[in-house]
Amino acid sequence: MTRSWLIPVVLLALAVALPFAVPTYYVQFVSKALIMGILAMALNLAVGHGGMVSLCHAAFFGLAGYVLALMSPGYDPASLLLTLPVAVLASAAAALVIGALALRTRGVYFIMVTLAFGEMLFFLFHDTGIAGGSDGAYVNAKPELAIAGRQLLDLGSPLVFYFVVLAFLLGVVALLTMLVQSPFGHALAAARDNERRARSLGFPIFRIRLTAFVVSGAIAGVAGYFAAAQFGFVAPQMLGWHLSATVLVMVLIGGLRSVTGPLIGALVLIGLEELLKATTDYWKLIEGVIVIFIVLAMPNGVRQLWPLIFGSSKNADAKPAAVPTEVKHV
């Protein structure tokens, strides 16, 4: 326990050193993985900590990306200070509306309702002419951080972009850790573990869950904003439920009960996808088999292997207490 700070510090040092040690392609690749890590951590606030299995987080992710695309003035860079808050607010607003409706239901209904509303946003961008319909739209220039005309950060440089994403990721980790450990986080966990008891203790369950859902959607928006900025392109598939389900897989791989677990899950899954894509045309088949295997063989996520691999780790996260207990929703 005394050295529980060691692993995060080493990892952070590695993350800072990494872009100076590898070619640009990998800097961009890791940036992408970190962005997906932000998305996975955001989703886990709802799924792992709140017990709300959402299948519409890709919609919040994609919506923020579309806001950036729509606000980008032609071939000039958009202002980060203006577009990022608007994009995140848009995602939060969508999460508020969808959450308020979906949280009238429980369990399997919640899954279906979030899936359906997520697809509604998908069709909104796919079928109507907003931002290019099914063809998507370009974000021609990366947003710039400038004050009074002076550019502070050039996001066009992969190195700068990487560190900006890393900074936001650290901010998200700090925010989520604070939230989860706060009285609010405990109330959220109580509602997940025993709704009836939490309700009879007087917790406003609906408001607590909705707040968590909106925060989760807003952070997903941060990830979507940077994803759109990095790829320079948005398409309706960014909002599709296949992405939502893939991020759920990341959450499961990383473990449901920790803040940073899903980040590891994202890095593992994206690394795996990259490896599979390089070796076979049928990578989805193998990924599908792996997903099925993980669900059937490791009900508590890949994390339960970690103590076996690393020995009895002193990392607090790997202790049995962090292994998720089965929560039945029916």
């Binding site: 409706l101 009238r104 399997v108 359906a116 697809e119 990924e287 599908g288 088999v289 099925i292 089965e326």
Partner: protein, 290 residues
């Protein structure tokens, strides 16, 4: 809108709703009895359509394709239940969502290996290929009418089985109170396997009957999955009658939405779902707290 056009659109709405009902009733049965949410349901709808295309291309007969397609789907359902799905009973919904997502990835890739990415079409049986001449410039395909009749017959069969037979009694009791039904001596091992296979077969049947009027394409399962979910949310989980009500509501909303409000038609069914959620969160015919 004159009366003939209205009638044609109404028929379209019913036909669309009936196919939706076939697929969604499978989904709601599987959830009601097995307690498993199956995201791969849409994938079996797609598989049905591809089987219809493949078998009809080989044998030249749509009817053989239909019977063989449903039989194959049924057997695949039996196999999947005994290998994968039965391990999900009692697991949380997250595990069910992810396992069925894994199945989708696998099925999609098999489809890609076997049939490629191309769009295919299937010819309806020759004697159903024509169309009724309604007015000088308005005709209605016989096949669409045949779908209505066929789906109504299947729906009637489902209702008869559920309301009049012992199997139906077990299914209703299982959806109502699973534990009590088990205590009364019903072996759910067997019931589960067959209900899952029937659910999959219904999804495939939906894909088969739709194949001649729609095209057969890779992403067709996704759209159907979402629609089936909306149907189940509208009607109430586990309720076959609710699925019928929900499916017809969506058929009407979508068809007339496209006529009257073409620009927002794809959003309308979700507005309908939101309204039902505000009004009755457990579905129109749903009683159970889920």
């Amino acid at each position: 809108m004159d009366l003939v056009t209205f009638g044609v659109q109404l028929l379209n709405a019913i036909q669309y709703g009936m196919v939706l009902f076939l697929v969604a009733s499978g989904l709601t049965l599987v959830f009601g009895i097995l307690g498993v949410i199956n995201l791969a349901h849409g994938a079996f709808y797609m598989l049905g359509a591809y089987l219809a295309y493949w078998i009809a291309a080989y044998t030249g007969s749509f009817w053989i394709a239909m019977v063989a397609g449903v039989a194959i789907a049924f057997v695949v359902g039996l196999l999947l239940e005994s290998v994968f799905i039965r391990r999900l009973y009692g697991r949380d919904h997250l595990a069910q969502v992810l396992l069925s997502f894994g199945l989708i990835l696998v099925i999609d890739e098999f489809r890609e290996i076997a049939f490629g990415k191309d769009v295919h079409s299937v010819a309806p049986p020759a004697w159903l290929a024509g169309s009724f001449q309604l007015t000088d410039n308005l005709s209605y395909p016989v096949y669409r009418l045949a779908i209505c009749v066929f789906c109504l017959a299947v729906a009637a069969l489902i209702f008869l089985v559920i309301t009049r037979t012992k199997i139906g009694m077990i299914v209703r009791a299982g959806a109502e109170n699973r534990e009590m039904t088990r205590v009364l001596g019903i072996k759910f091992d067997v019931v589960n396997r067959y209900v899952f296979a029937v659910g999959i077969a219904l999804a495939a049947l939906g894909g088969i009957v739709i194949a001649p009027i729609s095209t057969v394409f890779p992403g067709m399962g996704d759209g159907m999955l979402i629609l089936s979910f909306v149907v189940v949310v509208l009607g109430g989980i586990g309720s076959v009658a609710g699925a019928a009500v929900g499916a017809l509501l969506i058929g009407l909303t979508d068809t007339f939405g496209k006529v009257f409000f073409p620009s927002v038609s794809s959003i309308l069914i979700y507005v309908l779902m939101a309204a039902v959620l505000l009004w009755r969160p457990n579905g129109i015919l749903g009683r159970r707290e889920v």
